[in-house]
Symmetry: C2
DNA sequence: CAAAATGATACTAAGATGGTATCATTTAGA
DNA sequence: TCTAAATGATACCATCTTAGTATCATTTTG
């Protein structure tokens, strides 16, 4: 099981490669820094732009820049964009109910695990990865 | 993100539907109890048989039975059969390395999360779901 | 106006997931 | 011994997700 898809992975690489210097970085620069295939990276950058994580500038001399300080971009928010909300217990014992209970006893346990995972991921920021 | 695939889900339903009474249960019985499509359930039962979780008996009056007490069948072992080993950090920042470090700072954090998740899953047994 | 950059959007290949279908084998019992 | 009821083995298939490509439009600077 993967915690992060490749989209997310690439997005994180891109975001942390932008740094907090405030300089513009082009997609080509980011391709060199991250090793991500260009068309795919461009698509990811466009999504990050729409979601407000980066600000983009067209034309010669243009590029991308973080629109927030790296320390205020949470990993879990980036994940959510590309993977949807973290729901570990999705689909579990769906319509069926456990044989001996009205509510699934496993759900509670999985919920507890999920809460922990989310809380840990909340604490990870882009900034904390490049510091 | 799903913690468990449908295979695993169905396998757990089947195992916990067998109970610990020691009686034989046929695939047809389990279909009724679990709502899983029969051919798929049969495939899953065969895998559980090969892996030693259930013992099977052919012919009229045959069926399946847990080969271990429910309390000694761990959820994480069932997961491993159908989903492979739990590796949350698989593929993460694969060949690439984070810009400012030789080792990926995220890997450590994900490893920590993974350890917790595994430890929690280790504690969940089939028996604990139907008790 | 041209070149360099991003924006928008449609398309595609491969693998994983969630099944189905078929035939072989074993066993109990009339 | 024949038959029905059960599992064993195996091959096949449809859909969805993932990971990516391709193309053209738009904006901006010089």
């Amino acid at each position: 099981m993967k915690l992060l898809t490749r989209d997310t992975d690439y997005a994180i690489r891109a975001l942390s490669s932008m740094g907090s210097s405030g300089e513009l970085v082009t997609a080509d620069d980011l391709v060199k820094k991250t090793g991500v295939p260009k068309p795919f990276l461009r698509k990811i950058l466009q999504i990050l732009g729409k979601k407000g994580f980066v600000k983009s500038y067209k034309g010669i001399g243009g590029g991308f820049r973080l629109s927030l300080p790296g320390n205020s971009i949470k990993l879990v928010d980036v994940m959510e964009i590309f993977q949807g909300p973290l729901k570990l217990n999705e689909c579990f014992f769906k319509k069926m109910v456990c044989p001996n209970r009205a509510t699934c006893p496993l759900k509670k346990k999985v919920d507890k695990i999920e809460k922990y995972v989310v809380s840990q991921l909340e604490a990870i920021t882009i900034g904390s990865l490049s510091a």
